[in-house]
């Protein structure tokens, strides 16, 4: 029997992933289709952003069919506090984007607890003006608006293979629950279960 099954193993020393040993947190978004908006998928830790993209492909990229992944450092987020009510911005003083300003990607959250979804992009000189401009333009009906510098987002290559082409429904949580339910129902139908339970109840209650 292998050591893992005997629960009899010790690790060799930790293998440091990076020269400075620093692991940072990254936010991951996935797109289900080529032109679909990127939707928040989760967080992960990685030694650098390039490896974060690779790890995101293996992790969040395999949760469901996926054609593109965005990753950025969690520190790059500027966002409004999460409101109790949907926002209704009245500010009409919004100015035109200046082409020489850096680009920002705007994400919005429709209800508290919902995931953040890519809404648009805009240009602004700094994070503060990017956020106020994003709220004015896209905040209606949202409870939270987030902006992230476009330059800080690392993406998979267009057309890059992420989602595997072989059948991997068995890896899906929903596939599991369906097959478990079918098995459970098959077991439940068997009469001997009822007989067993009768005895069980007689003995124990």
């Amino acid at each position: 029997m292998s050591k893992i099954r005997q629960r009899n193993f010790t690790f060799a020393d930790e293998l440091p992933p990076h020269a400075d040993g620093v692991v940072r947190s990254y936010v991951v978004y996935t797109a289900r289709k080529d032109d679909a908006p990127h939707r928040y998928a989760g967080y992960l830790n990685a030694p650098d952003i390039a490896l974060a993209v690779s790890l995101a492909c293996e992790h969040y990229g395999q949760d469901e069919a996926c054609t593109g992944i965005w990753v950025h450092d969690v520190q790059e987020i500027t966002e409004t506090p999460c409101a109790m009510e949907k926002m209704n911005p009245q500010d009409t003083s919004d100015t035109t984007d200046c082409e020489s300003d850096p680009a920002w990607v705007v994400f919005g959250q429709k209800r508290r607890g919902d995931i953040h979804v890519e809404l648009a992009s805009l240009r602004a000189a700094d994070s503060e003006s990017a956020l106020s401009r994003a709220v004015a333009r896209h905040g209606g009906g949202m409870v939270q608006i987030r902006v992230v510098p476009h330059a800080s987002i690392h993406a998979t290559e267009p057309g890059q293979l992420i989602w595997r082409t072989h059948d991997q429904t068995y890896r899906m949580a929903r596939g599991y629950s369906k097959s478990v339910r079918m098995k459970w129902e098959a077991v439940r139908k068997a009469e001997d279960i009822d007989e067993y339970r009768k005895d069980d109840i007689k003995d124990h209650f």
């Binding site: 690790f11 060799a12 293998l15 040993g21 650098d48 293996e58 992420i162 595997r164 072989h166 059948d167």
Partner: protein
Amino acid sequence: MTAMQDMLNDPVANFALSIADDLLMLGHVQGDWTGIGPILEEDIASSSMSQDDLSHALMLFEHLGNRFGLDADVIAYERSPEDYRCCDLVTVPDEFDWAVALTRRWFVAHWAAPALERLGTSDDDELNERCRRLRSEQGLHLSYLDDWMRRLGAGEGHDRMQAAMTSLAPQACMLFELPTGLDDEDHRSRRDEIFEAWSRATTAVLTDAGFSVDLTMPSEEHIGGRRGAHAKHFVEQHTEMNEVRCEDPGASW
């Protein structure tokens, strides 16, 4: 002659089995790391790749099953150890040293990619299409593993990785032992081409990462797993993998 023997006597089938058995055993062995990977993200990625490896083995077993009238599970589980064509590199015990586990997978992925390309030039379009898909997915593993190699080469894990490379290199070269039934000039020259591609690709990454490893083609006299002479660790892993199957052959899940 049985269908199983027909398959084991067929040269293309033996080549396909050498790849499929490598991926089957690698997926099984690397699965030991599920739940105990060095960091959570790596645990998930490694487990995902192990599942890929098992699925890729299955796709080749299914092809062989269709061709020889056998069930894929029967091919995967019901051969005797000497009829497995895998290289014993895949079952080398890692003693829970991540450096060994990662290096083992890296060597195998670099072999599987060009080997699948070669297998995908057969006369059988259906097999070629399977190989094309598997090759692209093994390519994902390759770029991922190469990324890690370069980073670990630059970090303080360098010496641990170098030690793993040095200890695994002789067994990694046995990936190029010609499987039973492929002992002719044509297959030898094809094997040499794959070795060429493998050593070029691995050496490029090793140089980037600052590792130094001697990779040479094993001599013909050195008989290993691809010709059925498996190490003890293969037989142990094989017994364990087949344990449930042997309890109740043909059970459905």
